[in-house]
């Protein structure tokens, strides 16, 4: 019987851990996967799979870098899905389709979606790596160290890619978006 109590305790902690992870990272991961895939349904599948994989991990090994772990798994899975979805379409041709938001007011949602799509068309003109690190930095607010853990790129490379990506965006962004 003591063993049963131990297992229940363990399961309870596991469920609590997953609940907290869902609470903190569900929406950011969905936003990130949606940005990569331009498809909310596919993004939801990817995020669901990411959390199911989390359930199968030894939490003691993951919890110290949970955020980076989740984004790494989500990113790899999303890129995998993207390639399977359209093998002939290079990543440069990501389509920045508008993604409806059930929780927002129609006007607010349309404005946000329009801005997102407009900026996306310019981000699509960057290199894959530039776009990748810029999304992680400015959409998800990750540090260079966290981006390093997710992409495997060195901090120096990340700094250079963000710097050159911002420079390119300054050149191509229209004044109305810039101001």
């Amino acid at each position: 019987m003591p063993r049963d109590r131990g297992e229940n305790q363990s399961l309870s902690e596991r469920e609590k851990f997953i609940e907290q992870a869902l609470e903190a990272y569900e929406s950011p991961l969905l936003g990130y996967a949606s940005t990569i895939l331009s498809d909310l349904d596919l993004a939801r599948d990817v995020v669901q799979e990411t959390f199911i994989r989390l359930c199968q991990q030894d939490f003691s090994k993951v919890e110290s870098h949970l955020k980076a772990w989740l984004f790494t798994v989500c990113r790899n899975r999303a890129l995998d899905v993207l390639r399977k979805k359209n093998r002939s379409q290079p990543l440069e041709d990501w389509q920045w389709r508008s993604i409806p938001d059930a929780g927002s007011q129609p006007d607010e949602n349309a404005d946000q979606t329009e801005r997102f799509a407009q900026l996306g068309s310019y981000l699509a003109r960057l290199s894959e790596n530039q776009r990748d690190v810029i999304i992680l930095k400015f959409q998800q607010g990750l540090s260079y160290q966290e981006i390093h853990e997710i992409t495997g790129l060195s901090s120096g490379n990340i700094g250079f890619l963000i710097h050159s990506g911002l420079k390119r965006l300054r050149e191509i962004l229209p004044p109305d978006l810039h101001h």
Binding site: I18, Q48, K137, G159
Partner: protein, 414 residues
């Protein structure tokens, strides 16, 4: 401190990514230079546009998806969870159970007749062995055989080399096939994950005979005087096929955004040869790359690299290449045999190309080796490994490859 207005340090400073001492020095430089102040204003403006506009609408998972995650959280538990990832069904098969039952009946009958039970035991073993030889059978019980573990230094996994900084990597050739024996002994006989120092990916690759289906180049030695017109000669000149270089590329299983370059070098029949091989990265298309395995021999360290290729011997190598885009020119392999320059092999990756069976098997070996060595922790998951192995599993798989799948299957228990 003098800083150029186009220095990435300025961006890192604006984004708060510098250490306090570095940030202070950059701040002083900015205070003293109007050009830098203007650049800071520009970067801040672009940062504001991005943070305001790049945010997608807030979304959540659907209720049934959340519930599925919660169900997984409830049911996931150590050993039971790992058992679901096994490649082979470890439950007793019906045929096996029937054979066991038949054997018991035979033994019982013989006992009744007053005969020796011992004479029937081999029949039971034979039935078990037949079952074990099937692909979908339980993992056979291995007989413990002590295998000497090579005395090797602690592993230090190869780091990535940035193509712009290190565009050329000379490749080492020496690799035996010993590591797989030690890995197998640890997993199958000792029942534990092998020590990291015995996991040598290059040796595991070299344990198998693999032929890649991409570009191939042949080097001919100095004795090669053969010509098609000589084919009718009674004593044709010796054909000096010195070495063959074959390559193939496929998406890296644990990181699909990167390309796995597989290289096979085969020695000719004439004798041992000195082969120098180097990867020249295309700096326009390749961000970074790394040679898998070959620890502690870091290719970029100056010194003498092993270059001897035995007659009819094989050496396999794997390089993980991270390109800027999924397909395109990734560089060239340049090589020479006994100081004679051989035809270079251009490396062009087509993302829609179907990999050969041998390339997929090599990718599985790489995944298993890197997983055992603890590389790309949490990226190479046991699920990924099991999935790859399942894809390769077939009834016509060669014996050594089927054994390798059983090895992976058993390793997933740990």
């Amino acid at each position: 401190m003098k800083i150029h207005p186009d220095d990435p340090l300025i961006t890192s400073y604006v984004l708060g990514e510098l250490e306090p001492a570095g940030a202070k020095a950059v701040a002083l430089a900015i205070d003293a230079d109007p050009l830098l102040q203007q650049r800071v204003a520009e970067i801040t403006g672009t940062q504001r546009v991005l943070t305001e506009s790049i945010r997608p609408p807030t979304e959540v998972l659907l209720p049934h998806q959340r519930e599925k995650i919660r169900r997984n959280a409830r049911k996931a538990r150590g050993p039971a969870e790992m058992a679901t990832r096994r490649l082979f069904d470890t439950r007793p098969r019906k045929a096996l159970a029937a054979a066991g039952l038949a054997a018991i009946l035979v033994v019982g009958g013989l006992m009744i007749l007053g005969r020796s039970v011992k004479s029937n035991v081999p029949q039971v073993h034979a039935a078990r062995d037949r079952g074990a030889s099937e692909m979908s059978s339980p993992v056979p019980e291995a007989v413990p055989v002590p295998v000497p573990v090579p005395s090797l230094p602690a592993p230090r996994l190869q780091g990535y080399l940035t193509a712009a900084e290190v565009p050329i990597l000379e490749l080492p050739l020496a690799a035996s096939g010993a590591s797989l024996t030690a890995v197998t002994d640890s997993i199958m006989n000792l029942g534990k994950r092998p020590a990291r120092e015995v996991v040598r990916l290059e040796e595991m690759l070299n344990h198998f005979s693999l032929r890649f289906g991409g570009m191939t180049a042949v080097a001919r030695g100095g004795l090669n005087r053969w010509h098609p017109d000589d084919r009718e000669d009674e004593e044709p000149a010796a054909v000096a096929h010195a070495a063959t270089l074959s390559t193939e590329m496929l998406a890296c299983p644990w990181k699909p955004s990167t390309t796995l370059l597989l290289i096979s070098l085969r020695g000719g029949p004439q004798g041992d040869a000195q082969v120098k091989l180097a990867y020249h990265a295309d700096t326009q298309n390749v961000l970074r790359y790394r040679l898998l395995g070959f620890d502690p021999c870091e290719g970029r360290v100056p010194g003498t690299l092993p270059t001897q290729l035995a007659a009819n011997g094989t050496c396999l190598l794997a390089i993980e290449i991270e390109p800027f885009r999924p397909a395109g020119e990734l560089g060239v392999l340049e090589w020479s045999v006994d100081d004679q320059v051989a035809p270079a092999v251009s490396l062009v990756h087509r993302s829609d190309a179907e990999p050969s069976d041998d390339a997929r098997f090599a990718a599985l070996i790489c995944t298993f080796g890197q997983w055992l060595a603890g590389d790309e922790l949490e990226i190479i998951e046991s699920d990924t490994l099991a999935g790859l192995a399942r894809e390769i599993r077939s009834d016509t798989l060669a014996g050594d490859r089927a054994d390798f799948l059983r090895l992976i299957d058993r390793s997933l228990e740990f």
